[in-house]
């Protein structure tokens, strides 16, 4: 399908867990509980603690370039908290996309807003194993398991959200649109 937009194809290894992964397994609460200092350098340090609540090896492996994709089962990020820090931790750890059966709406919004694509398809976690090399076409919502050539499809990401991802997140997207508005007014 032609959206008039084409995000780069992503490639790398998958880390797979099929159960429900709560938001505080993605990033334990003690790493954000003290509250907002305004963001900034601390966000990068969160990467060292990504997935600490479920896999103590995750951050180290991801830092070494060994994990590009988190593949999860149902209700990824469960637990109903609106905070962004779990997404910041995943991004800082080098994760390029999240692929899941389904996802908490907070995690979904926060991921898109930070330029982290989320591809959803019920049952997809059963089709991928940890260590699988994947090729992910975010625009077409297609995931290819490189070793077998098997193609998996996910629900297409709506075009407005692809545009946000193309900008690298909602802040750069809004920044560009405010600049365009200002330019139009002054011309």
């Amino acid at each position: 399908m032609d959206f008039g937009i084409e995000l780069p194809i992503l490639r790398g290894r998958a880390w797979v867990r099929r159960g429900v992964i709560p938001f505080d397994a993605i990033l334990p609460a003690r790493y954000w509980k003290s509250g907002g200092r305004g963001g900034g350098p601390d966000d990068a340090l969160l990467g060292a603690h990504a997935m600490e609540g479920i896999d103590p090896e995750f951050a180290r492996e991801a830092a070494a370039g060994g994990i590009a994709f988190v593949v999860a089962g149902r209700n990824f990020g469960a637990g109903g908290k609106s905070i962004e820090h779990p997404v910041l931790a995943l991004k800082a750890a080098g994760i390029r996309a999240v692929i899941a059966d389904s996802c908490s709406r907070y995690l979904y919004r926060n991921a898109i807003d930070h330029g982290l694509p989320v591809l959803l398809s019920p049952g997809i976690a059963m089709c991928v194993s940890s260590g699988d090399e994947l090729e992910v076409d975010v625009t077409q919502a297609v995931i290819r398991v490189v070793a077998t050539g098997r193609r998996l499809t996910a629900a297409p990401i709506p075009l407005p959200l692809l545009r946000i991802l193309e900008c690298g997140g909602y802040v750069p997207y809004v920044r560009r649109s405010l600049e365009d508005r200002a330019a139009t007014r002054s011309s």
Binding site: G35, A78, S82, I83, E84, D113, L161, V171
Partner: protein, 424 residues
Amino acid sequence: MARQMTITEKILARQASLPEVAPGDVVTARVGLVYTMDLWALDVFNRLRQAGAEHVSDSTHAVVVFDHCTPPLDVAAANLQKRVRAEAEVLGATIYDIGRHGVMHQLVAEECLVRPGTIAVATDSHAPTDGALGAVVVGVGATDAGCAMATGELWFRVPDSILVEISGTFPTGTTSRDVMTYLMGKRGWDGSAAPWSYQAVELCGETVQAMSIDSRLALCNMASDMGVKNAIIAPDESTYAYSGADWRSEPAVRSDPEAEYAERIEMDITMLQPQVACPHAPDNVRPISDVAGTPVDVATIASCSGARLEDLHLAARILEGRRIHPRVRLYVSPASQLVYRRALADGTLAILLEAGGLIEPSMCGPCLGTQGVVLGDGETCISTLPRNLRGRLGSAEAQVFTANPAVVAASAVAGELADPAEYL
């Protein structure tokens, strides 16, 4: 002709200036109110600045409520609040500072900042509470809030809607909250099955129409923990009476008669018992009759789930002329300064004090386990909070049960979980 739409769809369409929307569409819509709290305000403001804005957009109202770090427990919290005050002034956000504050969702309802037919966003998972006023109110992260403050608009995916029609009169001791607790027990909560994930839950029926605004707020509040995008009750005369006349100037938005819903639920609450969420999950629910007799050490009436004036009145009806059990500590944290002042003026606080309760400031601490109520090892607490996860109120070896304020008050007197009907 536009498709038949639910109230949530209509509000999103109207605020996106579209003739119609359907579930799954992603739209950009005007946001009338963006509200955050002391804890996250600096992150929100940071995103606003990163987006290139130097001021809150003229087309929205940005509000910071001091509730999570209130009153400040340490120097870091005090300094955080200082910085928030300074930034809010520069950027043009309104602050509800200590003394004029409340738990954020209660505060913005009381201040009539959430108008029927509009969209509001908040940086907290109990944002759906104020959908009780006939608005689409959605929880978001700091980036969404900062960008919404900068531009006055935000992207939204149009949700499916679920219709819950409630009929019957509440039995003695049962409140609106029990409806949601019951449903959560049957279907799971956001941390497990997330039964209503992404969906708009629309509440209607004779029981809802008969509810006060306090009851409606409690009902929508508890829906938050089922993973909903928003919970909503169509505005009616009660809504307008709560707010004041000027909300009537716009035509009320209601669901079309042939609107499509992903699910319709009918519930008759005539036989509904007070429901108790048992350790350590919000969906581990039993009727009070199953758990009555469990000893308790601490009883808490607090939070945006159960410390409104109506809740304090209900507790006072049980506690008047009685003393709490010698083993029990009772903590009461009114949901806002306004609730506190009214409860003081009408004698409610005197009743709670006479019974042996500790009246605390209006704050989120008793729900977060950060201040006001902290449990030691092996302590058992019965509370009006929305969540009872292990370790939430301090010790991982403590047990938290949650229920409506009548159950909490009755249990405080009995020294064990008790059916409020025996005390009313």
